[in-house]
């Protein structure tokens, strides 16, 4: 993406990879002196939070018309646009399963609480990871507030370590060292399986699974507004979204006219994930998680 844009517009793009929570924290920190122009990727829950905190700039892109569903895939006030869609899934190390024939990969959220998965599950920490926050918000949306937290509390007993980034658990589980089951986005798991030949089996929870809309937004007071808008328009074209699979990003596109590399990832039991609710309760849920479930200090890198 970076190289493509640099070639096409003859500019240099600097990028920093951060998890959603880190990005949000960084944007808050730099509110008066923004160092970034574009926020690219991660669930829109964080984008909605950022919009409400005045960290983003609205932009009425002419390419909104390319979106498959303008109601779902863009902010009603034009503060962000969706650039991909992805569903949550579980991964299990297949070598570990082979060594433990009586263990079956989890097929439901409840399965994760089985004794055989104690200290075997890895997931990111919702304070830093949008993936993890989507998972926690999904759990609360499925189980309800009270049962949801109870479930999360029980789940934390099954978890070895919380990671900083949402895609890290599938990496570690693929290596089979610290844990053997992960919760993550299905496109990240597919990438490990297909491109890195990680010994992983992917399953989806029967109760239903949450999904993310990956967002993109222009930072308020961006130093290079022109280029940011160019990037914004450019990213909402079918030609550019079609590039995803070529660099192992298997998310579904948000614009029409692009073939899905893995349509099966969205042909599962998706819950009616409430993004607005998720955004509104994000700070509250994360704080509660840090205070009651696990501190955010020194997360696994």
């Amino acid at each position: 993406m970076k190289q493509q844009f640099e070639q096409q517009f003859n500019v240099t793009v600097n990028y920093v990879r951060m998890s959603s929570g880190e990005a949000l924290a960084r944007l808050r920190d730099e509110k008066d002196n923004p160092q970034f122009d574009i926020w690219w990727g991660g669930p829109i829950d964080s984008f909605i939070v950022a919009k409400n905190e005045g960290l983003l700039a609205p932009y009425d892109s002419p390419n909104y018309t390319n979106l498959i569903n303008q109601e779902l895939y863009k902010d009603p006030d034009n503060y962000w646009a969706g650039i991909y869609v992805g569903s949550l899934a579980f991964c299990t190390n297949s070598d570990w399963l082979a060594a433990n024939p009586n263990i079956a990969p989890p097929q439901s959220w409840d399965d994760l609480l089985k004794p055989e998965f104690r200290n075997q599950i890895m997931v990111a920490h919702p304070s830093t990871s949008g993936t993890s926050y989507t998972a926690m918000a999904t759990i609360i949306q499925i189980y309800g507030e009270s049962d949801g937290w109870d479930y999360i509390n029980q789940l934390s007993n099954q978890i070895t370590q919380f990671t900083r980034s949402g895609s890290a658990p599938s990496t570690f589980v693929g290596q089979g060292e610290d844990a053997h089951v992960c919760i993550g986005f299905s496109h990240d798991i597919i990438k490990k399986i297909e491109d890195e030949q990680a010994p992983l089996i992917m399953t989806f929870p029967q109760e239903g699974t949450g999904y993310e809309i990956g967002g993109m937004a222009i930072i308020n007071n961006a130093a290079h507004l022109d280029l940011a808008q160019k990037w914004f328009d450019w990213a909402l074209t079918p030609e550019i979204q079609a590039l995803g699979p070529t660099y192992q990003a298997y998310q579904a596109p948000t614009v029409a006219g692009v073939a899905l590399s893995h349509p099966e990832l969205l042909e599962v039991n998706l819950i009616d994930y409430d993004f607005i609710w998720a955004a509104q309760h994000k700070n509250e849920i994360v704080t509660k998680f840090i205070n009651e479930i696990a501190t955010a200090d020194n997360l696994k890198q």
């Binding site: 600097n14 920093v16 924290a25 070895t160 370590q161 696990a294 501190t295």
Partner: protein, 633 residues
């Protein structure tokens, strides 16, 4: 056109042309190349050496800082240990972990009294066996759970230092240190932990890192944040530079150093390395301008020395060139003087080298030349006198010949006229016998022939003596040609030959000597009549802007190709061998040719043997005007 190149005696050279310029240029070029090359190589080596020195210094600096950071962290661990081994604190912690009610305020005060005032730790906290924070200097954090954290899991048996992490809550980059707390059975019953801010830590560690004007050492996190204070205000909080990029891309497998632009686009010499324990990039940099200040001083000195050497060599080159050129200039001046005719020029001989010898030889040569020219003049004078004498004698002889010829012809013509006239008178009378009439007739004809011969010889003599002058007037060619034809007709007698003039009556008059022109026409026509036995003789005249061309064409015997060049030679008669008509003097054609040429025209012949002959002659359309011009009526 005869073109001759005259050697110019006045060729001169300005002081910086020619040999002097070549010599000077060569000397200067030679010294320039040597000096510039030496300076360049010298400077390059100096730059390289100096850069390496600075790089090594920076690498040492980076290594030292890495070590210092590690030492510092170990010291802090020891702080924690000594704190917790303090008997009072030990009791407090044991009680806390055992769940006994402890006056937390008292413990807090105690800890703060012992350690906290140093400001080294941001937080000190106690974690129980389950990972729960049961005591903290930051009371908000009490109750949080660390059991999923590496520092808890791996810190159970030995002291642990975490990697640098970004605290989403505080926006700081932090490190957590833990030491296990043991009970009397040496079992771990909890952890004592300290939280350090990297920024805070490095203020103690890196602040004393570099004592130079522009040097600095700083840390950059994996997400490109400057996590230590910078010496200079950065253009962007987003940490990018070649050093940082390489280190992050390389993932810490190698240590690097080099020249590049730092975060503020300042050219720096830098050493950069990945600190895997802390998960940060350590960068030690110094501005190139400062790092290479010594080199720049050296370069300046080198350049000044080089310039002095070049100036000196220029001066020496000038002196040497002058020494070589001066005697050559003297020689050149002398040669120029001789070329201009001044043979009294002597070169002063100052040098006793090759050029001195050359000058000596030149002087000797000049003297010989002077002597030679003096003798030559005498010989030329003598010879000229001889020639003048010979010329006078020849002129006198020629004069005598002309006078003699004139006299002779006069003396011959007087009696000859008597013979011609009296023989004619005799022939007119009736009292002569046939034989007598035949004799007188022969006498008359022979006399006329003789007179003609004498006239022609006289003409020739006049022409040769350049005494024939032309009497120009306007002459009507048709009239003159008809007149000549009527005279020539007599020569044809009863031969079947017709004479055909092709000339319009209104042919414009030409300017010529009428008598001489008539002589030419008569000569050509009578020749034609003589050598033509049948056919015709035609006369044509044409005129263009330049020439009037008259031709006389006959159908006679023609002239053999070998004889053609001879027809205009005096006393040569062509056709003699052909039995024919050895009549005439053989002077007619040469005289005619001379007359035409005196008019400024040409006379020539074209002939095909056995077919006929054509004589052409031309007259200028406009001959030189003359004063005594007559008009023909």
């Amino acid at each position: 056109m005869n073109q001759q190149t005259q050697p110019s005696a006045t060729t001169s050279l300005s002081p910086f042309q020619g040999l002097r310029r070549t010599l000077l240029f060569s000397f200067v070029l030679l010294s320039l190349i040597t000096v510039v090359l030496t300076t360049l190589v010298n400077s390059l080596i100096s730059i390289r050496t100096s850069q390496n020195l600075v790089l090594n210094e920076l690498i040492a600096n980076a290594e030292l800082n890495e070590q210092t950071i590690n030492n510092w962290l170990t010291e802090r661990q020891q702080d924690l240990e000594s704190l917790i081994l303090n008997p009072t604190n030990f009791i407090y912690t044991q009680q806390l972990i055992n769940g006994n009610q402890v006056n937390q305020q008292q413990f807090l005060a105690h800890i703060q009294f012992q350690l906290f005032p140093t400001g080294l730790f941001d937080e000190l906290f106690l974690i129980d066996e389950a990972g729960q924070v049961i005591f903290s200097t930051e009371t908000d954090n009490i109750g949080r759970n660390h059991r999923h954290q590496q520092h808890f899991q791996e810190g159970q048996t030995s002291p642990f230092i975490s990697k640098t992490f970004f605290n989403v809550d505080t926006g700081n980059h932090e490190i957590i240190l833990t030491i296990p707390l043991l009970n009397a059975d040496q079992e771990t019953i909890g952890l004592f932990a300290g939280r350090l801010s990297v920024l805070n830590m490095t203020q103690y560690v890196l602040a004393r890192a570099d004592t130079t004007q522009t040097g600095e050492t700083y840390l950059v996190s994996r997400d490109r944040q400057f996590i230590t204070k910078l010496r200079f205000q950065p253009q962007s909080q987003l940490a990018t530079s070649e050093g940082i990029d390489i280190t992050l891309a390389d993932n810490g497998t190698l240590n690097h150093a080099g020249n590049y632009q730092n975060y503020n686009d300042v050219a720096v010499v830098g050493a950069y390395r990945w600190l895997p324990d802390l998960q940060v990039v350590l960068v030690a940099e110094r501005a190139e301008s400062e790092a290479l200040a010594n080199v720049q001083q050296l370069l300046l000195t080198n350049t000044i020395i080089a310039l002095i050497i070049i100036a000196l060599s220029l001066l020496i080159a000038l002196i040497i060139t002058n020494q070589i050129i001066h005697p050559i200039t003297q020689l050149t001046d002398a040669a120029t003087a001789i070329a201009e005719g001044n043979l009294n020029h002597i070169i002063p001989i100052t040098d006793h080298n090759e050029i001195g010898i050359l000058a000596q030889a030149f002087n000797a040569m000049t003297m010989r030349l002077r002597d030679l020219i003096a003798t030559l003049e005498q010989r030329v004078e003598a010879r000229t006198a001889e020639l003048a004498e010979a010329r006078d004698a020849a002129q006198a002889a020629n004069q005598a010949k002309s006078t003699f010829l004139a006299n002779m012809s006069h003396e011959l013509r007087t009696p000859l006229n008597a013979i011609i006239n009296f023989s004619y008178l005799l022939d007119l009378g009736d009292n002569l016998t046939e034989d007598q009439r035949d004799f007188t007739s022969r006498i008359h004809r022979a006399g006329k022939h003789l007179l003609n011969l004498i006239n022609e010889i006289l003409d020739l003599a006049k022409i040769e003596a350049n005494q024939l002058t032309l009497d120009y007037e306007k002459v009507s060619l048709p009239y003159l040609i008809h007149d000549a034809i009527s005279i020539t007709s007599g020569l044809i007698n009863d031969k079947p030959v017709t004479i055909q003039p092709h000339i319009p009556d209104d042919f414009p008059p030409v300017r010529a000597d009428r008598i001489r022109l008539r002589q030419v026409l008569l000569n050509l026509l009578s020749n034609a009549a003589k050598f033509t036995d049948e056919g015709h003789i035609s006369i044509d005249a044409q005129q263009n802007d330049e020439w009037v061309t008259i031709s006389v064409t006959d159908t006679g015997v023609g002239i053999a190709p070998d004889d053609l060049p001879k027809v205009f030679e005096t006393f040569v008669q062509v056709g003699d061998v052909m039995t024919h008509k050895a009549q005439g003097t053989g002077l007619g054609l040469p005289i005619s040719k001379q007359i035409v040429e005196l008019h400024g025209g040409k006379l020539w012949v074209e002939s095909e043997f056995g077919q006929g002959t054509t004589f052409f002659f031309t007259l200028p359309s406009s001959p030189p005007p003359t004063n005594n011009e007559k008009t023909q009526t």
